[in-house]
Amino acid sequence: MAKTYDYLFKLLLIGDSGVGKTCVLFRFSDDSFNNSFISTIGIDFKIRTIELDGKKIKLQIWDTAGQERFRTITTAYYRGAMGIILVYDITNERSFENIKNWIRNIEEHAASDVERMIIGNKCDIEERREVSRERGEQLAIEYGTKFLETSAKANLNIDEAFFTLARDIKSKMEQNEMRAGGSVSNTGRVNVGGSGTQKKSFFSNWSCTLL
């Protein structure tokens, strides 16, 4: 069947367990029912489709869902990832502290040009906040990443982060295509897996860092 999209980006959500990487999605809370069947078994990955500048983009989003520790996540898991969203819980100081460990892990195992973003998630109520917005912003500045606080309740969900990250990946790819001397051969290319592209962009990026 003919491809019905222009780009495919693989994104990862990582962070400590219990930071609510999945909790950003609203669910029914009916007193007479337990958590839904789905939240009990958990989501492995999602396919989301967005449109940016007239291009249809498929996002394949993997959520580690907190079963992992950063020590156990290695190269295989990051393979092909073009964007990584680091999530901490604003009501959990430790999850914030661990972002640094996660970043170290990314630097060790992921492609060097992977797009990154830090998310402070607040599934819980504001009164229990342990990490100020300013500290989150400061950390993002330190690591040169974008930063967002998300809230499922205010419907400021993680989709916004996906959009931002996808936009960054897309414009980076387009820049690289232009630098590669005209994008004729690359237009409409579908980047399944994406690792080949990342290698190329790695060099293109370095070649003009100082321009």
């Binding site: 069947m1 019905t4 999209y5 495919l8 999945t22 999605l25 609203f26 669910r27 029914f28 009916d30 007479s32 029912f33 337990n34 839904s36 069947f37 789905i38 939240s39 009990t40 078994i41 958990g42 989501i43 492995d44 990955f45 999602k46 396919i47 989301r48 489709t49 498929k58 394949q60 869902a65």
Partner: protein, 138 residues
């Protein structure tokens, strides 16, 4: 006794064999309508994306499980559109494996299961019973 019996067995076996086939119908058919989540109305799959219709009953877990019950409550749901390519979907989530089974949910609000993955064929099936049809404004 010997004169009447020869025709009887063949007459009986014929219909029962075809009945068995009817229970396993997979036909080539695409989804004529765009299917959306019943809850958040997000598009799960655009029309004309699936490749087959599975006309069978399958057991799907209930979306919401009653409190205080220690087993998964299920119901039989009949009829599924199938497609092999996971990127045929607009917005869908794949669950982790539960007792060897993986299910499909809405990619936005995670309502579901709205379908399942066949572990043998790796076909992905969604049921119109748990999705709505996108009403196109003409």
């Amino acid at each position: 006794m010997s004169s009447s019996s020869p025709s009887l067995p063949s007459a009986l076996t014929q219909p029962s064999a075809s009945q068995q086939q009817d229970n396993n119908v997979v036909e080539a058919r695409t989804n004529e309508s765009t299917l959306i989540c019943k809850i958040c109305q997000t598009v799960v799959i655009l029309k004309n994306m699936t490749t087959e219709w599975l006309d069978e009953e399958r057991e799907l877990p209930l979306t919401r499980q009653t409190k205080g019950i220690d087993h998964t409550q299920t119901e039989l749901v009949k009829g599924y559109f199938g497609v092999k390519d996971i990127f045929a979907f607009e917005n869908v989530g794949f669950t982790r494996s539960a007792d060897g089974k993986k299910f499909l949910v809405c990619g936005e609000c995670e309502e579901g299961p709205v379908g399942f993955v066949d572990p043998n064929t790796e076909m992905n099936y969604v049921t119109p019973e748990r999705l709505d049809v996108l009403q196109t404004s003409v």
